[in-house]
């Protein structure tokens, strides 16, 4: 009952959003290829999933997101640790990391598609690139913030380097790292769509191009956008759940 009451405003806002959308279409009198009504989009979304139009594209995009995030975040954890613990690595790597981040991924994507082809590889690379920076920075900040007094405790107990990392640095940095994951996972979705636009043969990004272009099925385009948004939302919630499990008890 208390849960329901807590969910009430959330549901209320969602309904208000849909009503506003519907009202806009009604008052503006927009044709379906400019702004389809919510029920039109909803019906198209359902049909696309039932008929199997959406599934292969969604699977393709999710695969890219999964691998891209794993690779990008994995490398970022290592890089973040090095940046925090080795001044030399920080001096050597920082310019490249910042330069890579400052170069718009939109500008890089066609080049990467050219190099890695239209399949999964280029999507993973682009996803990984976009995920890398926030996670690396979060890891660096997290590791740097580990209490020096805890490290002294570790030394007094003769902890090995690995034990210090496993039992002191990693858990202490985990809240910061997971904060980086939150940002990273939503960026991974963007990365996948950008990669598909720049030259993919499949995926939700491709489906958007198709729906707007040769199919000229604007409700399908909106349905795809909704699917992408839902994927982002679910992935973000997964990180939040992981956070709760990993650090909820002691924070």
């Amino acid at each position: 009952m208390a849960r329901l009451r807590a969910a009430l405003p959330v549901i209320g806002l969602a309904i208000a959003f849909l009503l506003g959308w519907r009202l806009l279409v009604l008052l503006g009198g927009y044709p379906v290829f400019i702004l389809p009504a919510p029920e039109v989009v909803g019906e198209r979304l359902l049909r696309a999933w039932v008929q199997g139009t959406m599934t292969p594209h969604a699977v393709s995009t999710l695969t890219a997101i999964g691998w891209g995030f794993a690779v990008g975040a994995g490398l970022a954890l290592i890089a973040g640790y090095l940046l925090a613990r080795s001044p030399l690595a920080a001096r050597l790597l920082s310019p490249y990391i910042v330069a890579a981040q400052a170069t718009p991924i939109l500008a890089l994507a066609p080049l990467l598609a050219l190099w890695f082809g239209t399949g999964l590889a280029s999507k993973v690379v682009i996803c990984a690139l976009i995920v890398f920076f926030p996670v690396a920075v979060a890891t660096m900040v997290g590791i740097r913030s580990v209490d020096a007094r805890l490290l002294e405790l570790g030394r007094s107990l003769r902890a090995t380097r690995w034990q210090v990392f496993r039992h002191l640095e990693l858990p202490a940095a985990l809240p910061a790292i997971l904060g980086g994951f939150r940002v990273g996972v939503t960026l991974a979705v963007i990365g996948a769509i950008v990669a598909e636009w720049a030259g993919g043969d499949r995926g939700l990004g491709v489906l958007i191009l198709l729906a707007r272009g040769s199919l000229f099925d604007i409700p399908l385009m909106f349905a795809t956008l909704v699917t992408i948004a839902l994927i982002g939302l679910v992935l973000y919630l997964l990180v939040v759940l992981a956070e709760r499990r990993l650090i909820g008890a002691w924070r």
Partner: protein, 265 residues
């Protein structure tokens, strides 16, 4: 920082170290623990030199230094885990020590769910779990409020009575030093040397009302006189000397001359 500093501690003895702020009391403890290499000289336990972080030494730091992501039990058994002791035996040993410090019912609590005093007790249990030959306490009560601190001192007396662990206690409170220790070493300011070695002639087990006894006050006054000499300062004329228990000074705020001992040692 330390200079020609030499002393011995007999087994089962509790020695308190008091000294002016910045005299290097904490540094001294770190050298004894093997955390800091001395520029010269050596530290020996049972005739064997201490090198690097010595497992024969247990340390209670100024702050509890618990791992917030570990429950009480896992915090206490942490040293054994690092040493590769199998889970079953480290668990039973940790439970044993939780019992010693009276926290057995809080085994599954996280540090943030415990009071400051309980946390410091956990860190004492953790320091004792490897059965150290020497226990080092670095102003372990400075973060606690006066009442908790007093209760804590009594608990510590009981704990020592049971474990009889040889201990070195750094403190900036004279009453605390006299109440807890068998000997009080007074350090001078930098470079620190031992300027006085005051034996505390109070029977054990000690009780809270020992604080009001004449022997206690005499010893405390003696330590204070040495400390003042080490500081090259005269005590104010109005200073209550032996008529009043010295710990009144502690409880009723800090007279100006006492301030230098607050904070880092």
């Amino acid at each position: 920082m330390l200079h020609e500093l030499s002393f011995e501690v007999a087994q089962h003895q509790v020695v308190a170290i008091v000294g002016p702020n910045g005299s290097g009391k904490s540094t001294l403890l770190r050298v004894v623990a093997g955390l800091l290499p001395p520029d010269g000289g050596s530290v020996e336990i049972h005739g064997r030199p201490v090198d690097d972080a010595d497992p024969r030494v247990g340390i209670v730091f100024q702050e509890p230094r618990l791992l917030p992501w570990r429950r009480a039990l896992a915090n206490v058994s942490f040293p054994l885990e690092l040493a590769g002791v199998p889970p079953h035996s480290r668990r039973s040993r940790a439970l044993e020590l939780l019992h010693v410090v009276g926290l057995e019912s809080f085994a599954q609590a996280y540090p943030h769910q415990l009071s400051g005093g309980m946390r410091q007790r956990l860190s004492i249990a953790r320091a004792l779990i490897r059965n150290p030959s020497v226990l080092l306490l670095d102003e372990p009560f400075s973060a606690l409020d006066a009442l908790t601190r007093e209760r804590f001192n009594l608990e510590l007396l009981g704990l020592w009575h049971r474990t009889r662990t040889t201990s070195l206690l750094v403190t900036h409170s004279i009453p605390e030093a006299v109440l807890l220790a068998d000997r009080v070493l007074v350090l001078s300011a930098r470079p620190a040397t031992v300027v006085a070695d005051v034996a505390v002639d109070l029977p054990r087990p000690r009780r809270p009302d020992d604080l009001d006894g004449a022997a206690f006050s005499r010893t405390a006054a003696l330590v204070r006189a040495h400390l003042a000499a080490a500081l090259e300062e005269e005590l104010p004329a109005t200073e209550p000397a032996s008529e009043e228990p010295a710990d009144i000074l502690e409880r009723s705020g800090s007279p100006a001359w006492f301030d230098p001992f607050r904070g880092d040692g």
